[in-house]
């Protein structure tokens, strides 16, 4: 029964994928979308069932299907594990997934390939479930790569535009860099533990299995590289902003709420191993902090509404990694959940705006939308407040806990995180002000068509906004349901300080920082009524930021270009040289043959002379040379 239900949970979206890919063209667009949605909804329902069961029994559900790979040291089975962590993840993956499917029915209605779209979305959910449910690293890796594939497919969904395809390709390749790290990590762990099952490794750690610490450290670092790729951390983050080429629901689902949190999931999953390698944790924390700052600073000056959100996502993911690096796994998970709510809402809201403006994404051409798009505006505002960290919205709690933890462990990181938070508040409100306040700056025609989005679009917005508002309830400081719930899967809970004066002061600082950011934004864009300048006029520091610190250019210059240059070198020099050398051997033979022709000159006298010379040399050799 449990097995079957678990398989239903897993395969419902896959069935949706199959139906949509094979019969999608034959059924109506709405039906296609509805089927896709139902498929995910079924998964959601089953998840809820399991969630309730496991919450009460506290016994994980294990499903073992059949053997997959056999290696000398270990074998890998198709087996799944539904414990607290995976169910929590499944809850919001399938839950938000369902909402976004609903949203997409309307959002993508006019696209001729809507069936493909839903097929890919379903496939994504399928792989995401695989990733989360897998009971060993390799099953997780299937999901890991699978979501990467779906991300590729969906970013390049409008495949006629080669720029979008470039973005998709870039996302896939950068993910693959991480995946290599992941693979290497798996190799080392398999070598060390002779198993890659999470439970197996955990019990070995618990039983004090002797481990080569330094090798384990390498493995963990490799896995972290994998996480960096998937969760867009420095240095592998540049694909995420480009991934905004995909349709907005995709950005909401994959590039904000679910897939990009896979890295955090993986690290949390393996927390018992990461705990053994404090150095790696430190690296994670530093990388996370720097990522959050860098991404936030870039976000300050972006003008594409989705790009701002994308950098915001990178920045928030950075904060999560900061939490992970400090060993506060449950805090990171908490932020993942709240972030999923408000960031999904923000993306969907931006999608609603873009939908209303028929594809316009540049904030310089927006403005004044709050009058026309009330629901969108309100939900968007709630989420913005949440992300900015204003109490009592969900973002406040989660972000504050991260900063608290940082303060206790590592003050410089706290400073960085706080600055990033202030920036977040600034650019998010900049976004709100530019989009919804003042007057509309677009064309007359766009203005004419401005409208609130249909209910299929606004409904998910409302739900998500509510969640973004109240989501913090799952983990109030000091009385956290989440921490208790996750206790079985987290080996060494972070020390939860009692809420004392320091903590309240810190909260105050955080809130003040958020207000500072908001105030700066208000001052600049409402009071002064500034509109960001055109691209060519952006100079100085802003120019550097606007151009994302030229990181893409640097990558191109130091990695892509050299590879092509080496390729050219191989093609034009090495290949030719090797070829010439081998051909040269043949040529020498032919040349010798040609030269030999002059000796064969047709003269009998000459032939006879050679004959006699031959006789003399043979006799000479045999009888005279001893």
């Amino acid at each position: 029964m449990e097995t079957n239900l678990a398989l239903l949970l897993l395969f419902a979206p896959f069935a949706g994928f199959l139906i949509n890919i094979f019969f999608g063209k034959k059924i109506s667009r709405t039906l296609s979308g509805t089927l896709g949605t139902i498929a995910v909804a079924v998964s959601f329902a089953v998840t809820v069932f399991f969630f309730l069961q496991v919450s009460s029994t506290k016994v994980p559900v294990m499903v073992d299907l059949f053997q997959w790979l056999t290696l000398q040291n270990f074998s890998v089975n198709f087996s799944f594990q539904l414990d607290q962590l995976s169910l929590l993840w499944l809850m919001f993956v399938t839950g938000i997934g369902t909402l976004i499917h609903v949203y997409s029915i309307s959002y993508m209605h006019d696209d001729e390939n809507i069936n493909k779209f839903f097929a890919y979305l379903n496939l994504f959910i399928f792989f995401m479930i695989t990733l989360v449910m897998g009971s060993n690293l390799l099953i997780m890796f299937i999901g890991w790569e699978g979501v990467g594939l779906c991300s590729y497919l969906l970013i390049g969904f409008w495949y006629k535009n080669q720029d979008y395809n470039d973005a998709a390709k870039k996302a896939f390749i950068m993910n693959r860099i991480g995946d290599l790290g992941f693979l290497i990590g798996i190799f080392i762990l398999g070598y060390l533990f002779h198993t890659v099952e999470f439970t197996g490794m955990k019990s070995m750690i618990d039983n004090k299995w002797p481990i080569n610490e330094s090798l384990l450290g390498v493995a963990m670092l490799c896995l972290f590289i994998g996480a960096c790729g998937k969760s867009a951390q420095i240095p592998l983050y540049t694909w995420l902003p480009d991934a905004m080429a995909g349709p907005t629901p995709v950005s909401a689902l994959i590039h904000a709420a679910t897939m990009v949190t896979a890295g955090i999931f993986m690290i949390t999953r393996l927390n018992f191993l990461f705990n053994l390698t404090p150095d790696v944790l430190e690296i994670i924390a530093i990388v996370g902090a720097i990522t959050s700052l860098v991404a936030a600073s870039i976000g300050l000056v972006q003008n594409d509404i989705k790009k701002v959100l994308a950098y915001s996502t990178v920045s928030q993911l950075g904060l999560m990694f900061l939490a992970l690096g400090l060993g506060a796994y449950e805090v990171a998970v908490f932020h993942v959940i709240t972030h999923a709510f408000f960031k999904a809402c923000l993306f969907l809201g931006s999608g609603s705006v873009i939908h209303a403006l028929h594809g316009e994404q540049d904030m310089r051409n927006m403005g004044g939308l709050r009058k026309v798009m009330k629901i969108t505006f309100i939900t968007f505002l709630i989420s913005t407040l949440a992300i900015s960290g204003l109490p009592p919205l969900s973002g406040f709690f989660s972000k504050d806990e991260i900063l608290l933890t940082a303060f206790h462990h590592n003050k410089p990181l706290w400073v960085i995180g706080s600055i990033a938070s202030i920036m977040t508040a600034f650019y998010m409100f900049r976004l709100v002000y530019l989009t919804f306040y003042k007057d509309f700056r677009g064309t007359e025609e766009q203005k004419h068509h401005l409208h609130e989005s249909p209910s299929l679009i606004t409904f998910p917005l409302v739900v998500l906004a509510i969640l973004a508002f109240f989501g913090g309830a799952i983990s109030f400081p000091g009385m956290s349901w989440l921490n208790e719930y996750l206790a079985p899967v987290i080996a060494k809970p972070a020390v939860h300080e009692h809420l004392g004066t320091t903590e309240y002061i810190l909260m105050g600082i955080a809130v003040a920082g958020a207000f500072l950011g908001i105030g700066l934004a208000y001052n600049k864009y409402i009071s002064k009524g500034e509109v960001p300048p055109q691209d060519s006029e952006i100079t100085g520091v802003a120019g550097v930021l606007y151009n994302k610190y030229y990181v893409d250019e640097i990558y191109t210059a130091i990695i892509v270009k050299p590879i092509y240059a080496i390729g050219s070198f191989f093609k034009n020099v090495t290949e030719v040289a090797i070829s010439a050398f081998i051909f040269g051997l043949g040529k020498v033979a032919v040349l010798l043959g040609n030269e030999g022709k002059t000796i064969q000159n047709g003269s009998i006298g000459f032939y006879l002379l050679f004959f006699v010379l031959g006789v003399c040399s043979i006799i000479g050799y045999i009888f005279l040379v001893k």
Partner: protein, 469 residues
């Protein structure tokens, strides 16, 4: 001796038949007769008492002149088979000079007697007679187209150099006679090598040189390409198959029987083998005339066959040499059957004349391809086994370096063999007007039969190898 008599008789019958206006019967009778003799030789090989007819030819005094061991008989069988093929090709080749047919057939038969004499000899005078009969017949065949300047030149060159080489052979024989006081190989072989005067060794070396000329080994090879190119194609076929192998086999027999105890002797032969292979192959690369190319190829094959001198077990080596000779000559006959066809329809044997043969005459092209592949040493053709057995034998003796040279040469050889194959399959025929002429039946029949035997002994090398045991 009975074989020699039968074949010589056959030759005379040919000449007589011409007198009695039985021209049409000449070739069928000859071929049938040859096959009969072949069967007779076969019976001799397999029977316990070779003197099947009870004529006493295997007893004294003939035993002093002719020895019918398995080596001699096997090679005789091969020669007879080859001659049968060559004779079968004659009427078509000489269809414009029907009157000369009987002469050519008879000369080939006499040539065959020479070849058999020089392989079955037990006495140096028999050997000398054999080689001279063979050579003189070949001079005639080479120059057999007196109106053709090229044929004249070929005949003249071959004759002058051949006579020169004969002189050296004769000198060698004389020295050996002087040293041993006997022409009888059995007597000579039984003598104590250390007790013999040094002339003996000089004589053996001179014989070696003379025979190296006959097999066209470097540096005595210069005549071969020129003569092959200039002679009428059928004569070239005879030279490159029958004559070459006969010389090689008797060379092998002569040296193994004379068995000179000389430190540098085998080294010399090895050096000459390597030189022959290399120079033959390298020179063949740039040739445009197929006959000439096959001439150079023949030089390199002579080089390979010289490897047979590296042996530990004589019968083993004899078997390998015989196998190689068998494979090489049958591939040669098949190839020349095609070359004869092309040269009769296109008027020359340049490589471009073979262009598009794969399309117009797929059978002929296929046969020539197989023949060339066999010569190149590609399995499953017997040429491969020939090489492989020789390599095996040489490695058995521990001469790795020789094998490496041989292998490198095999690689070079592919270059020119495949030039011809490429021409047949990937180039368009220059002129299409003659496409509709059919291949004469004998050409295709001989080509196919020869190549089938070649493949057949490739599939069952035992058939040939066991003859020697």
């Amino acid at each position: 001796m009975d074989i020699l008599i039968a074949i010589a008789g056959l030759g005379i019958i040919c000449l007589v038949a011409e007198i009695f206006n039985l021209r049409k019967a000449i070739v069928p009778v000859t071929v049938a007769g040859l096959l009969g003799v072949l069967a007779f030789v076969g019976a001799k090989i397999f029977s316990k008492n070779p003197d099947i007819l009870g004529l006493g030819f295997d007893k004294e005094p003939y035993i002093n002149m002719i020895i019918n061991d398995k080596f001699a008989l096997s090679f005789s069988a091969l020669f007879i088979l080859l001659t049968a093929f060559l004779v079968a090709l004659s009427p078509e080749f000489h269809k414009n000079h029907k009157a000369k047919l009987s002469d050519f057939v008879a000369i080939k038969l006499f040539l065959l007697t020479g070849a058999i004499a020089m392989i079955s000899f037990s006495n140096l005078s028999m050997f000398f007679l054999g080689i001279e009969i063979l050579s003189i017949s070949l001079y005639i065949l080479a120059a057999s187209n007196p109106k053709d300047v090229k044929s004249n030149e070929a005949g003249m060159k071959y004759f002058l150099m051949g006579a020169f080489a004969s002189g050296i052979i004769l000198f060698g024989i004389a020295l050996i006679y002087g040293a041993t006081g006997s022409f009888n190989m059995l007597t000579i072989n039984a003598m104590d090598r250390e007790a013999l005067p040094s002339w003996y060794n000089i004589g053996a070396v001179m014989l070696t040189i003379g025979l190296m000329f006959k097999i066209a080994a470097v540096p005595f090879h210069f005549w071969a390409p020129d003569v092959y190119e200039g002679s009428p194609a059928l004569s070239t076929a005879t030279m490159s198959t029958l004559a070459k192998v006969a010389a090689m086999a008797s060379f092998f027999k002569l040296i193994t029987t004379l068995n000179p105890h000389l430190p540098g002797f085998l080294t010399t032969i090895n050096i000459i083998a390597v030189l022959s292979m290399t120079i033959g192959n390298l020179m063949a690369l740039k040739q445009t005339n197929v006959k000439r190319m096959l001439g150079f190829s023949g030089i390199s094959h002579a080089g390979y066959m010289l490897l047979a001198f590296q042996f530990r077990d004589l019968t083993f080596a004899q078997g390998n040499l015989f196998y190689y000779a068998f494979a090489y000559t049958l591939a040669g006959i098949a190839a020349f059957a095609v070359v004869l066809y092309v040269s009769s329809s296109k008027g020359n044997e340049e490589v471009y004349s073979f262009n598009g043969l794969g399309k117009t005459k797929p059978l002929m092209a296929a046969v020539l391809t197989c023949a060339l592949l066999s010569m190149a040493g590609i399995p499953i053709f017997s040429g491969f086994f020939g090489k492989m057995f020789l390599f095996n034998q040489v490695l058995d003796k521990g001469r790795m370096i020789l094998v490496v040279f041989a292998v490198i040469n095999s690689i070079i050889a592919v270059g020119y063999y495949f030039k011809l194959i490429l021409a047949m399959y990937s180039k368009e025929s220059i002129e299409n007007k003659e496409d509709n002429n059919t291949v004469p039946f004998v050409y295709s029949a001989v080509a196919v039969i020869a190549i089938l035997i070649n493949i057949g002994i490739g599939l069952c090398p035992e058939l040939i190898l066991q003859l020697m045991r």
